[in-house]
Symmetry: C2
Subunit: 244 residues, 2 copies
DNA sequence: CCCTTTTATTACTCCGACATATTATTTTGA
DNA sequence: TCAAAATAATATGTCGGAGTAATAAAAGGG
């Protein structure tokens, strides 16, 4: 190919993302947004890589990433096809990010909150049973961080995530932890939308404190109830802010 | 296991699995089994690919797959390092399969059943609320398939999976579906261990029918209770069979 | 008309080299 | 003596091409 084209071959490593990662990101968004529908077969690997002006290796590695997440499947002669949605690994953090990169689907967001509404109260109950003193301290510290910053700031949202993460860690259940971490990051996207539309609707500290108190008291039922309140309220806030 | 294909490296395909897939499988098992601990850095790309007697491209694509699942991270000069367990995407079906490829960890299995015990009753309740007539028919058909075959056969286990899948589809919640599909496949591995150690402990049809009846009656609470019974019982069976 | 065999297209695999980025080392200055 | 900056070393990242295996379609035979 033509050399000395350093200008045309611009480096996409703005955030330390590699080339194949950037391609996977691009294709992932295209698939999640419906630009490539399930059943569609992507044009050949030579054609596509030339269209993107990247090497075949980079394109192939990107396809491997997508295939690892269940988005596509490439078979000899048949080409690379987009798999049906049921095969997609929607819980993968990157897939989740791609889903929210385009215009977020309200039904999908509601599904996520519904799942969160199932997971988090149960997690709070488990945490109430198994928490150690260190777990309790971590939860308490996160709550203190929340009261120092508002949810409109990055620090405040980080503290909110820490609060939920600390509870998850107290469950001593690894699959539960990774699951809620995925959902939590997705929910973070939506809360960013939320605070964009409207400033914080109410003081979240008392509700969080109720969860903490129930876990401190080793009361699983109360912890689950308190957490259920918290999640339902978050869904309501998100919905109303997206309505307007 | 058969390792005759190890000698003839010319045709390394094992039933449709590509070379990079085989490498990813091998490395994935090595990581999940603890052979490579978090923080360990794999030997260089050239060294490792030569040790495996494969090209660098095949090895690199395998590493891309592992990186997509959060198992490793490759950085220039620093090498490819195994990420901490918290970054692993344990809900990925392939990762789950790798986790069960070695000797299964009882604590991990219990964690999975615990998660299943949270998810499935809630899913049954949602299904009871939203099921259509077609959903009900699918559940009924699956149950009929279960009564035709025993759980000791492949067909019987397939029918059991169909039963749970049909319920999940009735929830109209995509993330919930893929999540339970992952867990379900993992649980299938354990049931294979179970029936290997001992034949089926009891007739599972009546318990499943209770779930079906509750969903048919659109009774969420009853559906959740019936499903809870089912899952708890499955855990008990697995535990007792692994004890002996 | 259906099944088997053949053919051809296609994507996977492998190769070797160059470019790049990160880290470790060394050197210089305070 | 310590710290910071510049340099060097090395593994990763990237590239295009050639060979091979496998599948889908077409052709031939039953």
């Amino acid at each position: 190919m033509s050399n000395a084209d350093e200008a045309t071959k611009r480096k996409p490593r703005g955030t330390g993302r590699r080339l194949h990662g950037a391609i996977a990101h691009k294709l992932g968004i295209a698939i999640l947004s419906g630009e490539f529908a399930p059943g569609d077969t992507l044009s050949g690997e030579v054609a596509f890589s030339e269209a993107l002006d990247v090497s075949r290796s980079a394109y192939r590695e990107a396809v491997r990433v997508l295939a690892a997440k269940g988005l596509v499947e490439s078979r000899p002669k048949a080409g690379t096809r987009v798999l049906p949605r049921s095969r997609w690994n929607l819980l993968d953090p990157e897939v989740l990010a791609w889903a929210f990169a385009g215009e977020p689907d309200m039904a999908f967001i509601r599904s996520l909150f519904e799942l969160r509404g199932i997971i988090e109260p149960a997690a709070a109950a488990l945490a109430a049973e198994r928490r150690t003193r260190d777990d309790l301290k971590a939860i308490k510290d996160a709550l203190a961080g929340m009261s120092r910053h508002t949810l409109a700031t990055d620090a405040g949202r980080a503290a909110d995530r820490d609060f939920h993460d600390a509870i998850l860690r107290a469950t001593r259940n690894a699959p539960l932890m990774v699951l809620s971490a995925s959902i939590g990051s997705a929910v973070t996207w939506t809360t960013q939308f939320k605070q964009r539309a409207r400033d914080l609707p109410r003081n979240p500290i008392p509700d969080h404190r109720r969860v903490l108190d129930a876990i401190a008291a080793s009361d699983p039922a109360a912890a689950a109830d308190a957490m259920r309140l918290l999640v339902d309220q978050a869904l309501d806030d998100t919905q109303t802010s997206m309505m307007k």
